[in-house]
Symmetry: C2
Subunit: 422 residues, 2 copies
Amino acid sequence: MSYHYLLDLALILLTTKVLGIATGQFQMPRVVGALLAGLVMGPAMLNILTETAFLSQLSELGVIVILFTAGMGTDLRELRNAGKAGFFVALCGVLVPMAMGTAFGYLASMAGWLPNSNLLEAVFLGTVLTATSVSITVETLKELGRLDTKVGNTILAAALIDDVLGLIALTLVASIAGDGTNLLWVLVKIALFFVFAVVAAGTGIVLFRWMITRADGKNLRRYPVLAFVICLLLAYCAEEFFGVADIIGAFAAGLIVASTPKAQYIRLKFEPLSYLLLTPVFFAGIGINVKLPDLDIGLVLFSLALLATAVLSKVIGCGLGAKMCGFHGMECVQVGAGMACRGEVALIVANRGLSMGIMSEQMMTPIIITVVGCAVFTPLLLKMVFRNEPESTVEESTLSTPYHQADQLEQASAKFFLSDKK
Amino acid sequence: MSYHYLLDLALILLTTKVLGIATGQFQMPRVVGALLAGLVMGPAMLNILTETAFLSQLSELGVIVILFTAGMGTDLRELRNAGKAGFFVALCGVLVPMAMGTAFGYLASMAGWLPNSNLLEAVFLGTVLTATSVSITVETLKELGRLDTKVGNTILAAALIDDVLGLIALTLVASIAGDGTNLLWVLVKIALFFVFAVVAAGTGIVLFRWMITRADGKNLRRYPVLAFVICLLLAYCAEEFFGVADIIGAFAAGLIVASTPKAQYIRLKFEPLSYLLLTPVFFAGIGINVKLPDLDIGLVLFSLALLATAVLSKVIGCGLGAKMCGFHGMECVQVGAGMACRGEVALIVANRGLSMGIMSEQMMTPIIITVVGCAVFTPLLLKMVFRNEPESTVEESTLSTPYHQADQLEQASAKFFLSDKK
């Protein structure tokens, strides 16, 4: 019986938290701290932590729960209200990075920068670049007092849709990569999965309502448990019967649960499962798995070029979308800059590519550098493009409310339970 | 990349919950349902679930978290207030079952009922019988309106101490079994672990107080994370440096965290981690691992005899302790009957013995039958011994308060977060 996993977990939790707090001080997201923790403790530097079968299995479960939580956080009714601007910004903000990322990867492969690379890997690299992470932008805009503006609201709306479009892109690319022989059959299976998910949604919601009418107000634990069962089953069925990535199934399950009456309670109960165990293990695991090759000048240049492609493609794509919807000049750039940051989903997609054997290990370092680089530069970029602008707020901004409420909710809940001891 | 673990987890969560609710209808604890779920789904019956490396590692982490949570639920200040009666009932209620269990195991082995058994296994069987599970008694006494009586309070007090004494017994027996060559050295190492735990407690509490003074009231997640780090480190150090079981280290960490100002908040955050993943996997895992041998008449008789020994030894031991403290006649029997039930800790100790190679696999079936049997008979026994007694309540019963509050707290928290959607 081995107990060494206890030390592994303790070190992962401690270092991700400490470095997460440290990066938080520099207004970078916690995920950057967790990545660094893995890099520092892993074979790349101190070599204290190495990957074990248990850690990598926990990581897999972690990414399921992360996507499930993301799904629960996506309110489909809000998507409908996101408006034309949000939709076009998101759409162009997915298509342009996808195209530019693919072109960049392909050209780099042609130029011999990436040995053993192929078109599929280039397409996957494009997919990695599709998903925006909006948390840094939200923090920065809050600080600048511009979250409740027309630009701020468009960014929030687009970021909501962006996640869904990015995952659709992943579904297509990963399914084609998994069973590329018959494109039509792949599309049919994805469509069937969609039908299956809708049926599951109907069943799940009916089941929840039935349980709630039968319930006596006690035994609330059954709701999160049932939600998790739905998540795991959809993730399993996605892979087993439809050739769709399990994380897509988990995201779909999250969307379903978000439509049930107990959604907020369930989401609250998944938070500790995430931050006490699964999320740190997943993000530190990405850092641990990085094998810093002989970090030659070529890889550094490639990483910087990828970072530039990532930022530029979003600024161009989202700016274009904004332009199409009547934004002018500086506003288009502001929307683009606000959508430039990448984060969790990029890493999750990359990791998926790695475990499918489509992405090579050597690609992970540039992607991590891109994610960290985006986190560092986005606040600077935003402050630059918002300089010398009068503050203006729009009325009836429902989209930013959850971001303002998040802190309050946590604090209120803490006060509620801590009143006995101080 | 295998995704089959998703289906395993979904089935475990679903069946443990459904059977847990079903057994709950019969006033049996949820753990019985979880055990049955494992038995039904495992190789013993349907053979749908089998043990995997991931599940057994999750189980190990699960038992760490269960003991950590148990430690957090043990308020050392309440132990001090438990009084003479509580202490003597607990002490005799540990010593007598330990002795009777050992004697029973040894005699059974002598009589040839248990092939390949030895004295060490008999002592371990005695250790399994030491720990009371009080939840069924609490429920039954609540229903009978006798929780706030002198007898009810003595049972609650004794059950608090009983857990600690039972774990001390496990520490001694497991350490001796692990390094039996030098008893003195084993005792020195246990004493050193105690010193280490006290130093860790001091450090941990100072660290918490420092963090709280520095904190701005936000970022509350760091407290549960730090608590978990302390738990994992103590569990690791217990094994690595002191030859003490990791679960004892986790329990000690729980006691430490219970003395910090954020104890209740931290405990609340560990609940979902437990019931959404680790606890179902652990208890179902015990059921899954049961290989029903050719269930011969000998094993059935042995199981029933073990069940009788378990109940009788607690009634005799605790009754004796109560007698020593001035309880008379029927009251002694009531205290003894209230302490007779076994549960989680018995299974955890048995599982520990199994993984240390001290207990044989054939012993798990009788122990599971004993735990389930106790859960079935305790309410009947209690109703019998409390029959025809006038209700009488004592004043200032602080010990039963948490049991009354537990439901209210969960419901209040639910109302708090569900006010938005109905």
